[in-house]
C-alpha cells in the first residue's frame, strides 16, 4: 500500500462558504480522510454512489452507451429543438459555465441557473436597489451585530458561523461570539436561533411588514405603527431597531425563508433599502446565503458574457432577459421549451410540480455525477467528474470571491467542460453534415 498524500488547504465544493482550509489524505488514488470540513462537505469529498457509464434511453429504458454516442444524441436533441433550456450550473465550475453559455448561443437556447428557485428574487431585488455588501472577512473582522433572516446556517452552512460570522474572531472582534449581538428572524426555532441573543419569531409571510416597520422605527416614525407587526410586539421591534442603529458594524445574512415567502423580491428590495438607510446612522452590509457552492459563479460568468446574471434567452441570437418570461420555471410551466439539458442540479427534486411535469414532457439530457430523480425522466445521461474533487476550476463564494478549486484525485470520467465541448463539437459536425446534404 502506497503512503498517503496530504493535500492542504483544498477548497470544499459543497456550499457557498467555499471553505478553503480543507486537508485531504489521498491513498491509492482515493480520498481516505478529510479534515476540517463539515459533514456535508466531507461526504461530498469522500464520495458516494456515482453513475458509472453514459446512458441513452431506448424503447423506454436507459441503456449503457459510449460517451461519443451520448454526445451525438445530446446534440441531436438540442438541434432538433426550437427552444432548448440549459439549466442548472450551480454545482460545477465557471469553466463549464463558459462552455455552456457558448453552447446556448450556438443552439439558440435559454440558459438559467438554480438561482431561479433559490436567490433569483434576491437578484431582482438587487436590480431594484443594488447590493451593499462586503467580503466575509470584513464581517469576521468588524461585525459586532449580525442578523440571520430566514436562513439557518447551523444546518445549511455549518462552518459559516465559526469561519465568517457569529463565532468568528478578527482584528476588531477579538472576543468572537462574546463580543457580538446575534439576532435571528425566522418563522420557527432553528439550531441557528438557539445561538442567538435575540430570536424574533414572525408570522409566516410577514417579512415585508416587519422590515417596513424596522425602517420606520429607524427613521423615527415608529409612533404610527400598530402595537403588533407580523406577530412581534412593537416594543420588541423598537429594541431591535435600536440595536441595529447602535451597531458599530452590522451584517444581515438572508436565506430562502425571505426570498421565497410572500413578497419574494419585494422582501429583498425592502431589506436592501433598510440597509442603505442604516448606513446613514452606522455601518451595515447585507448578503444572501448562497446555497450551492458555485451558484454565485454562474451568475458572474453569465453577467460578463451576456450582461445578465440568470434566465438568459439566446434564441434571438442576442441575449434577452425578462424573468417571469425567460426563467426556467415559467418556461417549463408554460410548455415554452421543447428540450432541456440539466447539468449540475437536480431539477426534478427542486422544481414546483407543474414545472417538473413540463420537464417530463420533453426530451432531457442530464449531466451529473449522481443518479437522482432527474435521471428517471432523462433521455440521455452523461456522468461527469466532480469539480473541486476530480477536476480543477473556478468557483465564486457567496460573497462573490473567486477561488481556485483543486483536483484531489484522478477520475476516469470527463469533466463537465469536456462533456460540453464534446456536445458542442457534435453540434458543429451535425450542422456541417446537414449543410453538406443540403448542398
Amino acid at each position: 500500500m502506497s503512503e498517503a498524500i496530504m493535500i492542504r488547504d483544498a477548497v470544499c465544493s459543497f456550499c457557498g462558504c467555499l471553505c478553503d482550509d480543507i486537508n485531504v489524505e489521498v491513498e491509492d488514488g482515493k480520498v481516505s480522510r478529510v479534515r476540517h470540513a463539515c459533514r456535508l462537505g466531507s461526504s461530498k469529498i469522500m464520495g458516494h454512489g456515482r453513475i458509472q457509464s453514459p446512458m441513452i434511453r431506448k424503447d423506454g429504458v436507459l441503456v449503457a452507451a459510449s460517451f461519443s454516442e451520448a454526445y451525438e444524441r445530446a446534440a441531436q436533441i438540442l438541434l432538433a429543438a426550437s427552444k432548448p433550456l440549459l439549466y442548472g450550473w450551480a454545482s460545477t465550475s465557471c469553466e463549464a459555465a463558459k462552455k455552456g453559455i457558448l453552447l446556448a448561443e450556438e443552439v439558440g437556447g435559454v440558459l438559467d441557473s438554480t438561482a431561479t428557485v433559490c436567490h433569483g428574487p434576491s437578484v431582482i431585488g438587487i436590480e431594484e436597489k443594488g447590493l451593499p455588501g462586503a467580503t466575509l472577512g470584513q464581517v469576521k473582522n468588524r461585525a459586532d451585530t449580525i442578523v440571520f433572516w430566514g436562513c439557518n446556517p447551523a444546518e445549511a452552512h455549518p462552518r459559516h458561523s465559526l469561519r465568517y460570522s457569529s463565532n468568528s474572531s478578527g482584528k476588531f472582534t477579538p472576543q468572537g461570539r462574546e463580543g457580538r449581538k446575534i439576532i435571528v428572524v425566522d418563522v420557527r426555532e432553528t439550531r441557528t436561533s438557539k445561538n442567538a441573543d435575540k430570536f424574533m419569531r414572525i408570522v409566516p409571510g410577514s417579512d415585508y411588514e416587519v422590515i417596513s416597520a424596522l425602517r420606520m422605527l429607524i427613521a423615527g416614525k415608529g409612533e404610527i405603527l400598530p402595537d403588533v407587526i407580523g406577530g412581534v410586539k412593537k416594543v420588541d421591534l423598537a429594541d431591535i431597531a435600536a440595536t441595529l442603529k447602535s451597531a458599530r458594524f452590522g451584517a444581515i445574512f438572508f436565506g430562502l425563508g425571505i426570498t421565497h415567502s410572500r413578497g419574494r423580491y419585494k422582501n429583498i428590495d425592502n431589506a436592501l433599502s433598510l440597509v442603505a438607510e442604516l448606513n446613514s446612522h452606522t455601518k451595515f452590509v447585507i448578503m444572501p446565503m448562497r446555497g450551492h457552492y458555485n451558484v454565485g459563479g454562474i451568475g458572474q460568468v453569465l453577467a460578463w458574457s451576456s450582461g445578465y446574471p440568470m434566465s438568459v434567452d439566446f434564441t434571438r441570437g442576442a441575449p434577452y432577459f425578462n424573468p417571469g418570461e425567460t426563467a426556467a420555471c415559467d418556461l417549463l410551466a408554460k410548455r415554452d421549451v421543447d428540450a432541456a439539458l440539466i447539468i449540475a442540479a437536480d431539477a426534478v427534486s427542486n422544481f414546483p410540480h407543474a414545472t417538473a411535469e413540463g420537464l417530463a414532457s420533453i426530451p432531457v439530457i442530464q449531466i451529473d455525477p449522481y443518479e437522482n430523480p432527474t435521471t428517471i425522466l432523462s433521455d440521455v445521461v452523461i456522468p461527469c467528474a466532480i469539480a473541486g474533487v476530480e477536476v480543477e476550476g473556478t468557483a465564486y463564494r457567496m460573497d462573490g470571491l473567486a477561488l481556485r478549486l483543486r483536483k484531489l484525485v484522478d477520475s476516469s470520467l470527463p469533466s463537465d467542460e469536456e462533456i460540453l465541448t464534446g456536445i458542442l463539437e457534435s453540434v458543429h459536425r451535425q450542422r456541417q453534415r446537414k449543410a453538406n446534404q443540403g448542398a
Binding site: 451593499p132 462586503a134 472577512g137 470584513q138 450582461g307 462573490g400
Partner: protein
C-alpha cells in the same frame, strides 16, 4: 503587411503628419516587409489607441452589469460568425468591450482598480475581452500591511510587500484610491484631508501616498503611482489636489516618467464651498501642472447622458446614492479596500453637471503640454469610452464647444473659463493624448508608437488630415473617429469599417518586481499572521494562479537587476 501612403502621426518618434509607408512583420513594426497591402493614401494613420484608465473588468464592473439590466439592453447586438453577442452601453459585456475599442482604433486598455483579493475575478474577465491588450492596476491605498509598514516607516518592507502584492494580483501598477478613506469606511466614516489620521492605524493619507510613491520608485516600476485623491467629487477639493501633488514634488523618479499620475483630474478640480456656489478651479490645477513636471493626469471627462459610477472610493458612492436617490451597491474587501457602484445620468441643464463637463475640457486645453494629459472619460464614470470621439472633437473645435455651451445651463460661462479658451487641438495633440502619452505614462515601451520593434498596432481613419478642417467639420471628424477604416492589432486587421474581422486574444501585462530575499522573508512573517488571524482565505489560495493568465506577459522590474530583461 504594408500600409501605403498614410498621413502618419507618431509623435513619440517625431513624426507629425508625414506621408509614409509602414511595415509590419510577425506582429511588430519593421523597416520593410512584404505581404498584404493596405491602401491608406492620404488618410489619417496613428498607432493603436491606448486607454490608461478605464473600468473594464472585475467585481465592480460585473456588479454594474448585474444591477443594471436596463443598461444591458441598450447595446444589444446578436452574435455573428466572428463575434459573440454584445450588450450594454455604460457596462458592456466583455465581448462588446473588445469589439468597441477595436472599432474605434484602440488596441490597449488598462483596468484602473483591482483589489489583490479579487484579482482572480478581474483576470477572468480580462481574458474574456477579445482583441485588445490589457493590464490591471492593483489597489494598495487602504491595505493594512501597507499602512503598518508606513506607520513603522519601514520602506524596504513596504516595497517588498508591493512587489509581492503585484505578483499575487498579477497586477501592473500601484493604484491608490482615497487613501485611508476606504479603511475608515469599514466603520462607515471617511477621512477629510491628507493629514487626517486614519482610524485605528496611526497613519495619515499623506504618509500612505508618500510611502507608496517612494516604494514605487525603489522598485523601479514601469508606471508611477496612480492616484485618486482624497475628497474626490466634493466642492472645494482642488486644494486637496494641489496639497497632495506638492508633497510629492521632491521624489525622484526611477525612470523617465512622472512620479504621480492623477486619475480623472476633472473630479478633483472643484471650487466652491457647496454645490450651491460650485465652480471650476481647472485654471489653478492647470497652472500647477504647467509649473511642475512630476505629475500627469487623465481628464475623466464627463459627457451628458447615462453613466455608471464605480470606484474604490466607497464613501463617495454612498454620497452619490443618497444625493440622487439611486440604487447603491457597496463592496468592502477585508484588509484591503472598499468600493461602490451607483448608476448616474448627467444633464445639460443641471448646473453642476454642466460645470463638470466644462472642467474636463478646461483642464485639457489649459495644460500646455499634451504629454501631461490623457484623454479619458474614466469609463464608465464620466461617460462610456465609446464617446471618446465626442471628446476629441470638443478639444479640436471651438465652434463645437460654443454650440454645445449654448445648450447648457446659462451659468456655465460664469463658473468656468471655457468660453474664453481659444485653443483648438491638432492631430499631434490628439495622437499624444490617446496614444503616445498613455503608453509613456504606463511605461509600455512597445505601445503608442510606430518605430521599429513597436507592436504592430495601427489605426487608419477615413479622414484626410491635409484636407479636413477639424474646427468646422467636427461632425465628420467625430463620425470617422468612431469607426476606424482599419484597426490593425499585432499585424492582423481586426476591424474594417466597423466590421470585426478577427478576434485574436489580447495579452495581459503584469509587473514582476524582484526584491532581495531577506526583505521578502520579512514581509512573509507579517503576512502569515494576517492570513492566520484576519483573512477569510488561506494564503495558499490567495494569489492568482497562472491558469488565469494564459496570455500573460510579465514585465520585469525591481530592486535587484540580476534578473535582467525579459
Amino acid at each position: 503587411m504594408i500600409i501605403r501612403g498614410g498621413i502618419v502621426y507618431d509623435p513619440a518618434n517625431g513624426i507629425y503628419g508625414d506621408e509614409m509607408d509602414l511595415f509590419i512583420d510577425k506582429g511588430r513594426m519593421v523597416e520593410s516587409a512584404k505581404g498584404e497591402e493596405i491602401d491608406a493614401r492620404g488618410l489619417l494613420v496613428m498607432p493603436g489607441g491606448v486607454d490608461a484608465h478605464s473600468h473594464i473588468a472585475g467585481k465592480k464592473v460585473n456588479t454594474g452589469r448585474i444591477m443594471r439590466p436596463d443598461d444591458a439592453r441598450l447595446g444589444t447586438q446578436p452574435r455573428t460568425a466572428v463575434c459573440r453577442p454584445s450588450t450594454g452601453y455604460t457596462v458592456p459585456n466583455c465581448y462588446a468591450m473588445g469589439y468597441r475599442y477595436a472599432r474605434m482604433g484602440y488596441t490597449t486598455a488598462f483596468e484602473a482598480a483591482t483589489p489583490i483579493l479579487e484579482a482572480r475575478h478581474t483576470h477572468e474577465e480580462l481574458e474574456e475581452i477579445p482583441i485588445i491588450d490589457k493590464g490591471a492596476l492593483t489597489l494598495f491605498g487602504n491595505n493594512w500591511q501597507v499602512m503598518e509598514c508606513v506607520r513603522d516607516k519601514d520602506l524596504s518592507k513596504l516595497a517588498a510587500y508591493v512587489a509581492w502584492g503585484l505578483r499575487a494580483a498579477r497586477g501592473y501598477g500601484v493604484k491608490i484610491v482615497n487613501p485611508g478613506g476606504g479603511e475608515a469606511w469599514g466603520f462607515g466614516t471617511n477621512v477629510k484631508g491628507v493629514n487626517d489620521a486614519v482610524p485605528n492605524f496611526d497613519v495619515t493619507p499623506a504618509e500612505i501616498i508618500r510611502g507608496l510613491a517612494e516604494a514605487n520608485e525603489m522598485l523601479r516600476l514601469p508606471h508611477s503611482i496612480h492616484l485618486h485623491f482624497n475628497n474626490l467629487g466634493k466642492p472645494g477639493n482642488y486644494t486637496t489636489a494641489i496639497e497632495t501633488l506638492d508633497m510629492l514634488k521632491d521624489i525622484k523618479p526611477s525612470r523617465m516618467r512622472q512620479v504621480v499620475h492623477v486619475a480623472h483630474m476633472q473630479f478633483s478640480a472643484y471650487g466652491g464651498t457647496s454645490w450651491r456656489d460650485f465652480e471650476s478651479k481647472a485654471p489653478a490645477i492647470a497652472d500647477y501642472f504647467n509649473g511642475h513636471s512630476h505629475a500627469t493626469m487623465d481628464m475623466g471627462q464627463l459627457l451628458f447622458g447615462s453613466a455608471t459610477t464605480m470606484t474604490a472610493d466607497a464613501p463617495l458612492e454612498y454620497g452619490n446614492a443618497r444625493l440622487t436617490h439611486n440604487k447603491w451597491s457597496n463592496h468592502d474587501i477585508e484588509l484591503e479596500e472598499s468600493s461602490g457602484v451607483v448608476p448616474m445620468a448627467y444633464f445639460r441643464k443641471m448646473l453642476v453637471n454642466a460645470v463638470q463637463w466644462a472642467i474636463g475640457l478646461e483642464l485639457a486645453l489649459l495644460v500646455k503640454d499634451p504629454w501631461k494629459v490623457l484623454l479619458t472619460t474614466d469609463h464608465p464614470n464620466g461617460s462610456p469610452f465609446v464617446n471618446y470621439p465626442e471628446v476629441i472633437t470638443l478639444l479640436m473645435s471651438r465652434p463645437k464647444r460654443e454650440a454645445e455651451m449654448a445648450t447648457l445651463h446659462d451659468q456655465v460661462p460664469k463658473r468656468t473659463t471655457l468660453a474664453g479658451i481659444e485653443r483648438e487641438m491638432d492631430w499631434t495633440d490628439i495622437a499624444i493624448m490617446t496614444r503616445a502619452a498613455p503608453a509613456r505614462i504606463l511605461g509600455l515601451e512597445d505601445k503608442g508608437h510606430l518605430g521599429p520593434g513597436a507592436d504592430g498596432d495601427v489605426s487608419i481613419y477615413d479622414l484626410r488630415p491635409e484636407e479636413v478642417d477639424t474646427s468646422q467639420d467636427h461632425a465628420l471628424v467625430k463620425k470617422s473617429l468612431a469607426t476606424a477604416k482599419y484597426t490593425i492589432k499585432g499585424g492582423v486587421v481586426v476591424s474594417k469599417e466597423g466590421q470585426i474581422l478577427a478576434t485574436p486574444p489580447g495579452r495581459t501585462f503584469w509587473v514582476d518586481a524582484a526584491v532581495p530575499q531577506p526583505e521578502a522573508d520579512r514581509v512573509m512573517v507579517d503576512l502569515e499572521e494576517k492570513f492566520a488571524r484576519y483573512y477569510s482565505v488561506q494564503m495558499a489560495n490567495y494569489a492568482v494562479q497562472d491558469a488565469y493568465l494564459p496570455h500573460g506577459k510579465a514585465i520585469l522590474a525591481g530592486l535587484s537587476i540580476s534578473r535582467g530583461v525579459a
